[in-house]
């Protein structure tokens, strides 16, 4: 304790040490990243050094850290207690109001004055990620299985639709259950060997599986047409009635059916409602299954697998159902993606997609349905709205994630509604038994 004190109080010495350490790390990073630049020279490539820039960066880190230390000393951070019941109640009320309001808004969106083609396209994209987020939430948020290869099931769904529609001429509605079933089957096939693993190990194996599917899609050219992808995927029709500007005289089209003028936006609006319905179905399913034995077992498994086993819950089967059902929703979303794009290739199913979906789930607040919607809007819609930033878009994306994690480390809306309350249960049970009680 009596070590040489250079200057000032002990906390400042500590702070300077901390800042020096950070500056050293910054130096190590900055030398290759900032200090060296390749430039075109007459004789080929040449190296340009930018030491002043490195010095500035390192100085910034040192001073910034020091200021942070001082700020922390002057205004010590309030110890963050576990979420107080008051805050939880406030969030709960907010969510109760927000959910129905958001659904009403989503239903009306295509008819609002500002909803042009671009707004609808972005909304469809956001809703696709909302659905994927809700699907992955079953696996990660409820069952607590860290799945880094979720995009694989999305790919299975997309390719199932593309291949079945192109080769057998099946309609979207016929392909949807097939795609879901195939994705779920892949989920089970993957799940069997890997679900014995826990935490980080599971994450790494699922990551590998996700990449494997992509590599197979690239290399199995005879089926998937390799990296060139599948084009000319049938576009969706309105329950058998196509969106066709100039239908044959004896055939009908969407606009003739309703006696309105043709507009290309009709198809976009239909796609919008399609993904809205698919996403809401995912949500409804999740809300429902949380209150059922399987859903409760998923959450129990997330909380403590050993305790689950001591209560006779089969951990493998329970995890498999979570994996399969999560995969199924990814399969549905994949079908939608294929019919919307009309073209798919392995490029659409990279690890980055898995990471983005996972980021949506984590930032939304694990297990929070509304949080996932907000996170999807912020993470997917946000970068779309700031397209002018161009190459800084990803920087904005990363910065946003860091900010959210600093501001709300457990996610935007991290709170959990119990699936059953003794108080509510008593009330409904009494209401149900009252008429019976009057019968003699």
């Amino acid at each position: 304790m009596s070590g040489a004190r250079l200057f000032g109080p002990a906390w400042l010495t500590e702070g300077v040490k901390e800042a020096l350490l950070q500056a050293l790390v910054a130096l190590i990073l900055a030398v290759p990243l900032i200090g060296l630049k390749t430039v075109q020279e007459p004789g080929g490539l040449g190296l340009q050094t930018r030491w002043p820039a490195v010095a500035i960066a390192v100085a910034c880190v040192f001073v910034g850290r020091l200021l942070l230390v001082i700020a922390r000393h002057v205004w010590p951070p309030r110890p963050k207690a576990a979420q107080s019941p008051v805050v939880a109640a406030r969030i709960r009320r907010f969510v109760r109001l927000l959910g129905p309001a958001a659904i009403a808004f989503a239903l009306l969106l295509p008819f609002l004055p500002f909803a042009d083609r671009y707004v609808l396209d972005v909304s469809i994209l956001v809703l696709t990620y909302v659905m994927l987020g809700w699907g992955l939430n079953i696996v990660v948020g409820l069952a607590g299985l860290l799945d880094l290869g979720y995009v694989a099931f999305y790919a299975v769904g997309a390719y199932s639709y593309a291949l079945f529609a192109a080769n057998f001429g099946l309609s979207f509605w016929a392909c949807l259950p097939i795609a879901g079933a195939l994705a779920a089957t892949f989920g089970i096939l993957l799940g069997f060997p890997v679900l014995r693993l826990r935490g980080d190990y599971l994450a790494i194996v699922t990551l590998g599986f996700g990449e494997m599917i992509r590599v197979i899609l690239i290399n199995w050219s005879s089926l998937t047409n390799g990296p060139r992808g599948i084009s000319g995927i049938p576009r969706p029709d309105f329950f058998g009635v196509p969106f066709n500007p100039s239908p044959a005289p004896d055939a009908s089209a969407f606009h003739t059916l309703f006696g309105i003028a043709y507009s290309p936006i009709q198809r976009v609006i239909f796609l919008y409602y399609l993904i809205l319905v698919l996403a809401l179905l995912t949500n409804l399913f999740t809300l429902r299954i949380r209150k059922l034995p399987v859903g409760r077992a998923w959450e129990a498994l997330r909380e403590d697998e050993i305790a689950c086993r001591s209560l006779g819950i089969n951990p493998t089967n329970t995890k498999l159902t979570a994996f399969a059902i999560g995969a199924m929703f990814a399969g549905f979303a994949g079908s939608f993606f294929a019919t919307r794009q009309g073209f798919i290739s392995p490029e659409s199913f990279t690890f980055l997609e898995s990471a983005i979906i996972l980021a949506i789930v984590v930032l939304g607040g694990m297990g929070s349905q509304v949080g996932i919607v907000i996170a999807a809007i912020v993470l997917i819609g946000g970068p779309e709205l700031v397209r002018e930033l161009e190459e800084y878009r990803m920087l904005a994306f990363g910065g946003l994630m860091v900010l959210i994690m600093v501001w709300r480390p457990r996610g935007l809306l991290a709170f959990r509604e119990p699936t059953i309350r003794l108080a509510d249960f008593d009330r409904t049970a009494r209401a149900r038994s009252e008429p019976a009680a009057t019968v003699p």
Binding site: F285, E299, D304
Partner: protein
């Protein structure tokens, strides 16, 4: 008659014990954690397993409940409805499911992020799964599942009342004080309707009042539910008060088995509890107290 007591068995009591442990041995590499342990546990009786730290008590539980596969030994559970079951051959999760062996843990293991009531509902998972056709009936909103759930809630309420946690039903389990967490864990085990309840140091960390409440609860469970209770306990005075039978382990070996009075007087037990090294560290008056009580932790 309590509402959830198992159906009364016929007048002619079966002569076999509820649980029969024969030559149980558990090795971890070179370490023999449990060495040739044999004892019987009656139903409707409290069998205490005592012994110093590291004696192998928890390991016995882990073998019984399928967390470890015993190196040697036979564990026979005479299930009142399903007949004899050999626990050492059963897969871990099937022991609670089929054989009806429930347990608690030395370090409480609750579903902390779930509510108290949910903890008790999860404990009835298998019954609810069965009633809801693996949740499908619930997904379709059939009345069958609603009725099963209502019954599960009633059972949960019964045990909440028994352990005095009814007012806490909608709390997150992790937010309960320690003593209540321990009681919730027992209630959760009981909600799974076991025929054998294994409690790993349930009194650890409880204050004297909570501890005597616990004793009353255990006696109540034994006399009303008429199930077998295996109790790991450190505190000799607790054990002497409530157990019908005591098994003493030391360094993995079984050094005594019998009624409390016999065990208390057993010289091997006294030696194990007051090892030669230890009584030098103890103040003389404490050592005298311990000797008078027949030992102590």
């Amino acid at each position: 008659m309590p509402p959830f007591a198992p159906a009364a068995r016929g007048g002619n009591e079966q002569p076999t014990a509820l649980l029969k442990v024969e030559h149980l041995t558990m090795r971890f590499g070179g370490l023999v954690a449990v060495d040739d342990v044999s004892f019987e546990a009656p139903d409707a009786g409290i069998t205490a397993i005592i012994g110093p730290n590291g004696a192998g008590k928890t390991t016995v539980f882990n073998c019984l409940t399928g967390f470890y596969k015993p190196s040697v030994g036979r564990l026979t559970l005479s299930h009142p409805r399903r007949g004899p079951l050999y626990l050492e051959r059963m897969e871990g999760f099937r022991i609670p499911q089929v054989a009806g062996v429930a347990r608690t843990f030395q370090n409480v293991r609750l579903f902390g992020g779930m509510s108290v009531l949910e903890n008790l509902i999860v404990a009835q998972h298998n019954e609810l799964m069965h009633a809801s056709f693996f949740s499908l009936a619930g997904l379709l909103g059939l009345g069958r599942y609603r009725r099963a759930e209502a019954k599960a809630v009633e059972r949960a309420r019964y045990w909440l009342d028994r352990v005095g946690l009814t007012a806490r039903a909608d709390w997150d389990a992790a937010n309960l004080p320690y003593g209540e967490q321990r009681r919730l864990e027992i209630a959760r085990a009981m909600c799974s309707q076991p025929v054998l309840l294994c409690l790993d140091e349930p009194a650890a960390g409880l204050n004297p009042r909570e501890s005597s409440d616990l004793n009353r609860l255990l006696i109540g469970i034994r006399d009303e539910q008429r199930i077998g209770i295996l109790l790991i306990e450190h505190d000799m005075s607790v054990v002497m008060g409530i157990s019908d039978k005591i098994v003493v382990l030391d360094h993995g070996r079984q050094i005594a088995e019998g009624e409390p009075r016999q065990v208390r007087a057993d010289p091997a037990v006294i030696r194990a509890y007051l090892g030669e090294d230890e009584d030098e560290d103890l103040p003389p008056e404490v050592a005298r107290d311990l000797a008078r009580d027949g030992g102590g932790a």
